[in-house]
C-alpha cells in the first residue's frame, strides 16, 4: 500500500518539477551570471552571494520561482546592483555560476529600456535623474536634445540607452521618479 502511495506521490512531484522547469519571470541575476540554463544547472542555491552583497541587493528566490527557488536575483526597483569593483558576490560563489568579470563595464546583467510615453524628460520636462545616477554617465545613458514642437520654443532633453554600454545594473530604475519607473532593466536575453 505504502509503495503505491509513494509511487503516486513521486509521479506527481516529478510532473510538477518538469512542468515548472524554467523560471517564468525572467529574473535579473547577479553580475557575472552564466546564461540562464547554465546558471540554473550550476547555482548551488547556497545563498553565499546574498550574504556577500554589502547593499543586501541580492535576494533569494522563493518557492513561487519554480525551478529558480533558492537562486539569487535582484529587484532593481528595490535595490540595484552598485557594481562593487571587488565583486564580493562573484568571489563568494562556490560553483562558478557567477563568473569573474574583467571590470565594471564588462558586466552583462541586462539592458535598460525607456518608456518614452511616461518618461518626464521625454515629455519636455527636465528630469535626467537616471542620467546622473548611471555609473557610465554619457556612455550608457546619454542626452540628445531635439526641438519641442508642442511649445515651439524649448528643447526636449531626450534620454537614450546605449545598449553597448549599458550593463543592466538597475541604478536608473531605482532612482526613476515616476511611480511606475519609466526606465526598466530587462534581464539579458537567455
Amino acid at each position: 500500500m505504502q509503495q503505491k502511495v509513494l509511487s503516486v506521490l513521486g509521479g506527481m512531484l516529478g510532473y510538477l518539477v518538469v512542468k515548472n522547469l524554467k523560471n517564468k519571470n525572467g529574473l535579473l541575476r547577479p553580475p557575472g551570471a552564466m546564461e540562464e540554463e547554465a546558471f540554473l544547472a550550476t547555482c548551488m542555491r547556497c545563498g553565499k552571494c546574498v550574504s556577500a552583497c554589502p547593499y543586501q541587493a541580492i535576494k533569494v528566490g522563493d518557492a513561487s520561482q519554480g525551478a529558480g527557488v533558492g537562486t539569487p536575483y535582484l529587484a532593481a526597483r528595490n535595490k540595484p546592483c552598485y557594481l562593487c569593483p571587488a565583486f564580493p558576490c562573484i568571489k563568494a560563489c562556490p560553483s562558478g555560476a557567477l563568473q569573474d568579470v574583467a571590470g565594471r563595464d564588462k558586466v552583462d546583467m541586462g539592458e535598460a529600456e525607456i518608456n518614452t510615453e511616461t518618461c518626464l524628460s521625454w515629455q519636455g520636462m527636465r528630469c535626467e535623474v537616471c542620467y546622473r545616477a548611471c555609473p557610465f554617465l554619457d556612455k550608457a545613458l546619454y542626452v540628445e536634445p531635439f526641438r519641442n514642437t508642442k511649445t515651439g520654443k524649448h528643447a526636449v532633453f531626450a534620454l537614450y540607452v546605449n545598449k553597448q554600454h549599458c550593463v543592466g545594473c538597475g541604478l536608473c530604475e531605482y532612482v526613476c521618479v515616476t511611480e511606475k519607473p519609466s526606465i526598466v532593466v530587462h534581464p539579458k536575453g537567455r
Binding site: Q2, Q3, L6, L9, L13, G14, V17, V18, L21, E37, A38, L40, A41, T42, M44, R45, C46, G47, K48, V50, S51, A52, K59, V60, D62, A63, S64, A67, V69, G70, A92, P94, S95, G96
Partner: protein, 288 residues
C-alpha cells in the same frame, strides 16, 4: 563516554547549534555563510557531497573547487560515522523526531513500523516491506532526471533546503513539502523520507559502513528485550541486523547504512548493552 546515557540531550543541542550557525549570516555574521548545500566556514568552502554530484551532472562541468569542497565533507563524515549528518545536523530530523513523539502520544497507531523487505523479525520470520534497494533507485532517478533536465532536481524539491531557506530568509510555500513528510510519518508511522527517499542520507549511509565511529552491541549484556528496535527512528533495522550472532562473538558493530548514530538505542537499553565505539576498541561489559 561509556557512562553517558542521555545522548539525545547532547544530540539535540548540537542540532540547535547548527540551526543557530545557519542563522548567523542573516544576522550579519561573516565567519560562516551559506547553507547545508554549500557553505564557507572561516574561509574554508564546504559542500554537501550529493549536491556537488547533482550539480556536476546537471551542469555537465567538473568543477574542481566544488568537488574539493564536497570531498572535505565526505572525509569529515566518514570519520564521524557517515549518517551522523542525519542524526546530528539535519534540521528536518528535529521536526521528524518531534513528529514521532506526537505520534506516540496519540496512541492510536499500529505498533510496528514497516521493516525493510526481507529483514528477519525477532520471531525469526521474514518481514515484508519496502524493498531495501529503494534508496539507491531513488538516488539514480534523481541523478538521471538532473542530467536530462539540466536542473538539480532533488535540490529544488529538497525539504531540508526548504526548511533552511525558510529559517534564513522567510516563510514560503516550500514548507508544504515538509508538511507532507510529517503527515506521512503520522499516518504510516514510518520515517519514509529518511529511509527510502533522501539521497543525501543514502550517500552518507554508504560512508558509514566503514567509519571508525559506530554503535556496538555487547551480546554478553543483551537480553533481546527489543526496546532498541522499538525506539530506533529508522525502523529498528540497524540493530535487528546484529541480533542473530553466535554467543562466541561478544561485540558486534552496527554497520547498517540506515543508522544515524542518534544514540536512542544506547539511551534506552535497560541492560546498557549498546554504546558508541571508536576504532574497534574493546568495549567493557556493563556492570549489572
Amino acid at each position: 563516554m561509556r557512562e553517558v546515557r542521555n545522548w539525545t540531550l547532547i544530540r539535540r543541542s548540537v542540532q540547535l547549534l547548527v540551526v543557530a550557525l545557519l542563522l548567523t549570516p542573516v544576522a550579519g555574521g561573516t565567519f560562516f555563510t551559506g547553507n547545508l548545500s554549500s557553505s564557507q566556514l572561516l574561509g574554508l568552502v564546504l559542500s554537501d557531497p550529493y549536491s556537488v554530484l547533482e550539480t556536476t551532472v546537471a551542469s555537465r562541468r567538473l568543477l574542481a573547487g566544488l568537488v574539493l569542497s564536497g570531498g572535505i565533507i565526505l572525509g569529515l563524515y566518514w570519520v564521524i560515522g557517515g549518517r551522523t549528518y542525519c542524526g546530528w545536523v539535519c534540521p528536518v530530523n528535529i521536526l521528524l523526531d518531534w513528529t514521532d513523539w506526537v505520534g506516540r502520544s496519540l496512541r492510536n497507531f499500529r505498533k510496528t513500523v514497516s521493516p525493510v523487505a526481507g529483514a528477519t523479525k525477532p520471531d525469526g520470520s521474514k518481514a515484508k516491506g519496502i524493498d531495501g534497494r529503494t534508496p539507491y533507485r531513488v538516488l539514480a532517478v534523481f541523478l538521471l532526471l538532473s542530467a536530462a533536465t539540466r536542473l538539480p532536481v532533488f535540490g529544488i524539491i529538497n525539504p531540508i533546503s526548504a526548511v533552511v531557506r525558510n529559517l534564513q530568509w522567510g516563510v514560503d510555500i516550500g514548507l508544504i513539502l515538509v508538511a507532507v513528510l510529517v503527515l506521512w510519518q503520522l499516518i504510516f508511522r514510518d520515517r519514509a523520507w529518511c529511509r527510502y527517499l533522501c539521497p543525501v542520507g543514502t550517500i552518507y549511509g554508504l560512508l558509514g559502513k566503514s567509519s571508525p565511529v559506530r554503535v556496538v552491541l555487547d551480546h554478553r549484556s543483551c537480553t533481546h528485550c527489543g526496546v532498541c528496535q522499538e525506539v530506533c527512528p529508522m525502523g529498528g533495522e540497524p540493530v535487528r541486523e546484529v541480533w542473530p550472532r553466535p554467543a562466541a562473538l561478544k561485540l558486534t558493530r552496527l554497520t547498517d547504512q540506515d543508522c544515524t548514530n542518534c544514540g536512542l538505542c544506547i539511551d534506552r537499553c535497560p541492560s546498557k548493552a549498546l554504546q558508541y565505539q571508536v576504532f574497534k576498541q574493546p568495549a567493557k561489559p556493563s556492570t549489572k
